[in-house]
Symmetry: C2
Subunit: 411 residues, 2 copies
């Protein structure tokens, strides 16, 4: 039987009582005959506390020592969980990322995993040890600590599952699974039984915070099924992210995502000639401002309007960079709208279906919600709306696509 | 010029303000042209907090994971100090014990250093990096974390000084140096300019807590001068522990030590025949109870009294082990006196001199302090007295040997 990789997030390990509860869950699975590798995040607020210490020392919160500092958080929870399992009579061993053979490049705080050498893990499993591994961290070619950046522990878990040929990666968190939308916005939100990697990727990229896109990409690449479930509620079965949802009725919208962290920059009356976009977005890239969507209207009299969105925190920087470039290009004024949000509907069924956009726009229009911009991918339609109308837009779309109805055929 | 190894204790690194102050001290030395390797303890109460977390999980506070847990404390302070130095414009690098090449046996929580491979340290020094090393920790033959037990960071510092051929090891703490006795007991206590390894060893073994005997032994073995000084008070020059204090007037008592952590066990009317001591102390050794001094009175009618001392915390255990052995040997009752203390005078001059014991006993007698037991070494005389008279005994002896007078010739 292939081993199972589990991952417990910080909220599942917020204090020693929770750590002991997690140990009991793991023990029950091992007693049932399973072979477990467990990846852990730092306890509760530990990472924030370590970041706070660093900020008291220096404004430069990056680099080699910053990675070493943050890596201690996961070492503490890893050691404590192994001790808790041993206290229950189960031999367990705690490994750092380096000890577990997680090798990365030397981008200290946003490292990419380059290789996993599972020799030590296999050796410990052969000795009937439950293997507890510090997530979020690895070892650089110079044997220094690296951390994997946002979503790091999820990425560790999926990468280890791939390296070990695990049956699946189980991501335990403080929510019951992946929902059709955020239940705090729409109480009729329904937990999905399963969802395709691509759908989950779009939902995550468009604001669903349950998992980081990077770990989902890795699952897609290595075809590792990822179960997202609650560590607090043992009776709820969670959501399985997997290759395809074969038995799902086709042509279904799977979820509605909301990203409230959006500002739009519109450059008015841009001359419509080659190279203009390159000048604006080149300047933004040089300044390290990530641009999300870009929309350019059809040209009228050789002049066009160009709108792009950035993260809300970046709007002042984006304005400061864009204005001189726009002036040099001879274009009109630069307008900022920083009270925007993106509402997206996502579903693989959409790529072959028709009428999704029409249904979406009609539903929003009926609710008198104005759409400022539209972007689409193969499996997603996104509308830019005003921030104050965003949550209502989510509820309107959840209703319009009947997402509260349990239409799934469970496989 | 040989490099200098410094060590900063937890009280010198109690918060980020103190860490930044230590960084400034280090920067000043480096700007003056010195090559520095800095060993650090965990910040303030960090180790106690980690021990507290472990105790919430399990009563078993030892083993592989316990060492890994505690090792994180020094990693945090090491990383923060390196970040603080870099913030001051000084390139610094933080190394774990393992990265610094500190190899140990696999006694996880009381590991002995077996070898130091200084390749990485030398490489970083050659790149003009200030090298900051996590004290108290090393790496086992299986590449696991080990910790060095009590006095561990001092031991790390002296061992690294030996491996690097350093000019000296500088131990920075919250006291100004080594005093003739504890200034909290006798305000006339005087800071010593220097002291021999053997004297410091005896003072430490007899209760002076400024340094752990193990680090001093290592200094003696490798002839590394050890400076004990304050990290808070830059103007005070500290105390140098070194091979011999050549210019010191002979026949001087150097200090008075107090150890209040003593209980005495007396086995009455023991048959005076070979093998009896072996049975009593064999049983204690098997139970892991360390025995300090042993005194056996001259035999009267083939029966003798045997008294030994143990740490105060061990007296119940010692009694439980000794009573059945004594009964089996046909000896009389076992008596415990658990309100005792050891007061010692120490000085290398004593080994060739006369009259020290007489002066000591006369002084105590004049003060009506009863001596319950006497033990001696080449450079030490220890009197066992009642706990309530102990601090007065220290003051009486400090006065009798004129330790408040600055009679040292400074070299």
């Amino acid at each position: 039987m292939p081993p199972v990789v589990q991952k417990y997030g910080g909220s599942s390990l917020s204090d020693t009582t929770r750590i002991k509860a997690v140990a009991k869950r793991i023990a029950a699975r091992v007693e049932a005959g399973e072979e477990l590798i467990v990846v852990v995040s730092a306890m509760g607020k530990t990472t924030d506390e370590l970041i706070g210490l660093a900020r008291e020392i220096t404004p430069v919160t990056e680099g080699r020592e910053y990675a070493m500092l943050l890596a201690t958080g996961e070492m503490v929870s890893t050691a404590l969980l192994a001790m808790a399992l041993r206290d229950l009579g189960h031999p367990a061993i705690a490994l750092t990322g380096a000890q577990a053979g997680v090798y990365t490049d030397n981008t200290y705080n946003r490292a990419r995993i380059t290789e996993i050498d599972a020799t030590r893990i296999r050796h410990e499993l052969a000795r009937d040890h439950i293997v507890i591994i510090a997530g979020f961290q690895g070892q650089s070619p110079d044997a220094d600590f690296t951390t994997l950046g946002r979503g790091g522990s999820d990425t560790s878990a999926v990468a280890l599952a791939a390296a070990l040929g695990a049956a699946q990666a189980e991501i335990y968190t403080d929510v019951d699974g992946v929902f059709t939308t955020d239940p705090r916005i729409d109480p009729r939100a329904r937990k999905l039984h399963d969802i395709a990697y691509e759908e989950m990727l779009e939902l995550a990229a468009q604001g669903a915070s349950v998992m980081h896109p990077r770990a989902i990409e890795l699952g897609l690449l290595h075809e590792i099924p990822i179960l997202v479930a609650s560590s607090f509620n043992g009776d709820v079965e969670g959501t399985l992210i997997r290759k395809e949802v074969v038995m799902e009725p086709a042509n279904r919208v799977r979820g509605v995502a909301l990203d409230s962290d959006v500002a739009a920059v519109t450059v008015r009356a841009v001359p419509d000639r080659p190279g203009i976009a390159a000048q604006i977005f080149g300047a933004l890239a040089d300044a390290g401002v990530p641009v999300d969507t870009i929309v350019q209207n059809a040209s009228v009299e050789k002049l066009t309007d160009m709108t792009f969105t950035v993260a809300h925190d970046d709007w002042r920087k984006a304005l400061a960079i864009t204005e001189p470039v726009a002036a040099k290009l001879g274009s009109g004024q630069v307008i900022i709208d920083h009270d925007l949000a993106k509402v997206s509907i996502v579903g693989t069924g959409m790529q072959s279906g028709v009428g999704y956009a029409a249904t979406m726009f009609r539903a929003l229009a009926t609710a008198s919600i104005n759409i400022q911009e539209i972007t689409t991918s193969e499996i997603r339609i996104t509308a830019l709306v005003s921030a104050k109308e965003a949550e209502n837009a989510v509820r309107v779309l959840h209703e319009a696509f009947q997402l509260d109805e349990p239409a799934e055929v469970q496989t």
